[in-house]
Amino acid sequence: MSAAANRKPFDAGRAAYLALNIVLLAFLLAPIAIVIVFALNPTPFISFPPVGVSLRWFEKFFASSDFMNALWLSLWVAACVLVLSVVIGGACALALARGNLPGRTFLTAFFMSPLMLPAILTGLALFQSYLLAGIGRPIWGLIMAHTLIAVPYVLRTTLAVLHNFDHRIEEAAAALGASPARVFFEVTLPLIQPGVFAGGVFAFIVSFDQFPVSLFLVVPKSETLPVVLYNYMKFDLDGAIAAASMVSILLALSVVLAMERLIGLKAYVKL
């Protein structure tokens, strides 16, 4: 048989599939490319083709105490939200999957409900509740609000892992002499950990990027980065916004990569 005869016939379906993927990828990446161009271009407006390369917007971003305070606050809040939502979401998922609770379906839907409500309403409702309760708008109120939104992500990923979890692995451990506590720490926890931490990464990013919920809950001088950026944009629509976006993207990316290195998100999960 000749080599030519062996060549695969042109597959229109496959070509269309490939083209669709390329288009989707371009659609996802194009805005980032524009942000990069805008961030590096010295003019205070988007001009194409760019007139040069300059770091002036990055300098402006890093020199601004407003931006820096907001950045640190956002990171700090996101870190707290990560820890809280991992603990709460993980515990909830275990209770829902294992606890034999009455009304489990309802409870699951209930815990997922923050995702279904428009976040802006969640923010406004919490804002009013806080004011009515007379507690003002403390930073922990903001963290709680973000956690509320982030917990469903952890719940989802953990439930997914628990769903595929072979209960007999825990029984095997028990039969081998592991007490219930040791079964949990030696077997259950390590096995659901990838799901919990994948949810944790989502939680971090959901909090770090959170705008609608934060909008009403931040107080003057303690505003998170997305809120500061939004308000900055109303007055100065310059490259500092793009520089800030780049920094945000890189930070979020490095958190994901760090988590992946530290925890090994896909080390032993068949995804």
């Binding site: 004011l131 507690i135 109303k234």
Partner: protein, 347 residues
């Protein structure tokens, strides 16, 4: 394993510490809660104006620069409002008034410096006190070979098809001002909506934005050659940021874009709130802010440097070209107007 566990533990302790920390209460000094703008204005407020006020009046000022102010004020209890002084553009003060969120009138009795302001600042078109105004006119590129505009009608020049810029009228007060101006220029007056709708139709194709800042950028980048904009949005691009963009005050007059301060009726520190408005009307404070962001001061006694004096509305003659929109009238019809203009500008 150990490092991971200890890391988690540290994080948990930190989280608990944050949650447990009591909010610090300023029991001694009074706190004045205000809204204010961001950008260059906000920088000067935070760096100079507010610290000086705090020192002089022995108080702390909590300045909220994060939009949206109105819903936050609406959501807070009336007897303990989130803000003492409410800084917005004029039209929002009218909406706030109908909901009882701000005071109807402020006079020289509460704020002595009101005695020195131009009449427009406390006219019947204003709820509260105007501290600055901008002029809404036309911005245009000087490098595109287009004729220098003189009238509002010049925006309809067929040569500008697709090159002219306007606003999404439902969400932008400059767009709303422009619509009223069209009624005046093409019809019987600011309230001649039928003439305004017809004129608006003639402006198509037109590039529309929602933020005023976007219009500034489109002019700076040359994406539009001529568009509706306030003077500050053109004049403040000086020095390295300068582009071939100029501002024109059309012969029919410019629309006023007022910066208005008002006090919330439920404020617990009303005296301090009035003092703050009075302070913002002081000639030295007015000069500082006016020259920072190219706003025309409301106080007649302010003497700006030559450069600013030449371009801003600083004399009775120049102030006379200001046309104040009747926001009470406009807001009452806003829903109908929104529906109509959306239909006109669609497609």
């Amino acid at each position: 394993m150990i490092s991971r566990r200890s890391m988690l533990r540290t994080g948990a302790i930190a989280a608990v510490a944050t949650v447990g920390a009591p909010s610090i209460l300023h029991a001694q000094t009074k706190t004045l809660k205000i809204t204010t703008w961001g950008g260059k204005w906000g920088d000067i407020m935070k760096a100079t104006v507010l610290p000086a006020f705090e020192k002089e009046f022995k108080c702390t000022v909590q300045a909220d620069q994060a939009f949206p102010f109105m819903p936050k004020l609406q959501a807070s209890p009336k007897n303990d409002p989130l803000y003492d002084v409410f800084h917005t553009n004029s039209n929002e003060q009218w909406s706030a008034l109908t909901e009882g969120l701000v005071m109807a009138k402020i006079t020289a009795k509460e704020v002595p410096n009101i005695a020195d302001v131009y009449p427009y600042a406390v006219s019947d078109k204003i709820v509260g006190v105007t501290i600055f105004t901008s002029a809404i006119g036309l911005g245009y590129r000087t490098d595109k070979g287009i004729p220098v505009p003189k009238s509002w009608k010049d925006l309809a020049d067929p040569k500008l098809a697709g090159q002219r810029g306007g606003y999404l009228i439902p969400v932008n007060s400059l767009g709303q001002c422009h619509l009223m101006m069209l009624g005046k220029v093409y019809g019987k007056g600011l309230q001649d909506l039928d003439a305004a709708y017809k004129a608006l139709e003639q402006l198509k194709p037109i590039k529309l934005v929602d933020f005023t800042g976007q219009m500034e950028k489109m002019l700076l980048s040359g994406e539009v050659s001529e568009g509706v904009i306030h003077d500050s949005g053109v004049l403040r691009y000086e020095g390295a940021n300068r582009q071939p963009v100029e501002f024109c005050s059309p012969t029919e007059g410019v629309m006023a874009l007022e910066q208005v301060l008002n006090v919330t009726p439920g404020s617990k520190v009303k005296e301090l709130a009035f003092s703050y408005i009075d302070y913002m009307l002081r000639p030295d404070v007015q000069k500082l802010l006016a020259e920072a962001v190219w706003y025309s001061p409301a106080n007649k006694k302010v003497k700006l440097s030559e450069k600013y004096d030449a371009r801003l509305l600083t004399t009775p003659e120049k102030v006379a070209t200001l046309i104040q929109p009747d926001w009470k009238w406009y807001n009452a019809r806003k829903d109908d107007i929104d529906a109509r203009v959306t239909r006109i500008l669609k497609g």
